[in-house]
């Protein structure tokens, strides 16, 4: 089986990855997954490409402005990896996320905003689908893989969704386009490592990038939080629709 490590001969990587968000992180992740030859890639987004996206959302081009991000991204993935099967999905909601992520082996969270990140977290934990969390803003960000039921999830570490205003999004706070390039690629790497069994996942570890200072730190997370509302011993969240306020839905 292919390890994803490129040699003269290209082999496909069996397995499927859903990338939720075809923005800054999703652009970098999709390019890396396509180039590695992942057999099936899903792309979920609901926005159209805007001119102001182009400095950081590197899969889209000027001529894509006004087109759905899913369609624009799929076209580039097809161009880079013609044998990859591509599925497109719309907005992920508390009502559809569990069924959608269940169609994939691994999920890349490339969403913008903590409400969306907790939706991906909670959906993947309920579905039992491994995923990588990623976040980015200005000159830094972080990556952590979660193996549901085995390693801590975002909720184990942060508890509740941080309130709006506490956490600017990329469009609010700005970002240097090369930064999500690094972090989105690191997320894709986690997906490839998971599918191929190569290397050691960032499960139970957070990799934090401070690209301004030029530092990368890896912090251990320890065990899951037994009182976590989604993956603890007596999880309180069983239906995402009932919990939809958390996600801003």
């Amino acid at each position: 089986m292919s390890t994803g490590i490129n040699t003269q001969e290209r082999e496909m990587i069996p397995g499927s990855v859903l990338v939720v968000g075809a923005g800054a992180l999703g652009s970098a992740a999709l390019i890396a997954l396509a180039r590695a030859g992942v057999a099936r890639i899903g792309i979920a987004d609901f926005d159209n490409v805007e001119l102001t996206n182009l400095g950081r959302q590197i899969i889209h081009r000027t001529c894509d402005v006004g087109r759905p991000k899913t369609v624009s991204a799929a076209e580039k993935v097809r161009g880079m990896s013609p044998d990859t099967e591509i599925s497109l999905h719309g907005r992920m909601t508390p009502g559809n996320i569990v069924a959608t992520v269940s169609q994939y082996d691994f999920v890349v969270d490339a969403t913008d905003g903590f409400g969306n990140k907790f939706l991906v977290n909670d959906g993947c934990v309920l579905a039992g689908v491994p995923f990588v969390h990623g976040g980015v803003v200005r000159l830094g960000g972080q990556v952590m893989t979660c193996l549901p039921g085995k390693t801590p999830c975002l909720r184990c570490l942060l508890g509740e969704v941080p309130p709006e205003g506490e956490c600017p999004t990329c469009s609010e706070a700005g970002i240097l386009g090369a930064v999500p390039g690094m972090i989105g690629s690191a997320e894709a790497l986690e997906a490839i490592k998971f599918l191929t069994g190569e290397g050691k996942l960032l499960a139970g570890r957070i990799m934090s990038f401070d690209c301004g200072a030029g530092t990368v730190r890896v912090t251990g997370t320890g065990e899951r939080d037994p009182s976590c509302r989604i993956c603890g011993e007596s999880p309180e969240i069983k239906d995402l629709l009932e919990n939809r306020r958390d996600y801003g839905s």
């Binding site: 960000g141 956490c167 934090s208």
Partner: protein, 64 residues
Amino acid sequence: MVKINGEQKDVAGLSVKEYLVGANYSLFRVAVELNGEILKKNEFESVVFKDGDVAEIVNFVGGG
């Protein structure tokens, strides 16, 4: 002295919460590993840094 994210800081005697607030961290989106263990959020106020402690603070950001 307390080693925080690789740097020695003169903060022994301060609670974790006091340090985080003073250093302008948002308590809502921070994870703190102290001597190899992740602290629960409700421990930020009661746990006090001691000389020789080693802490890692991860400031989660939510853009994408």
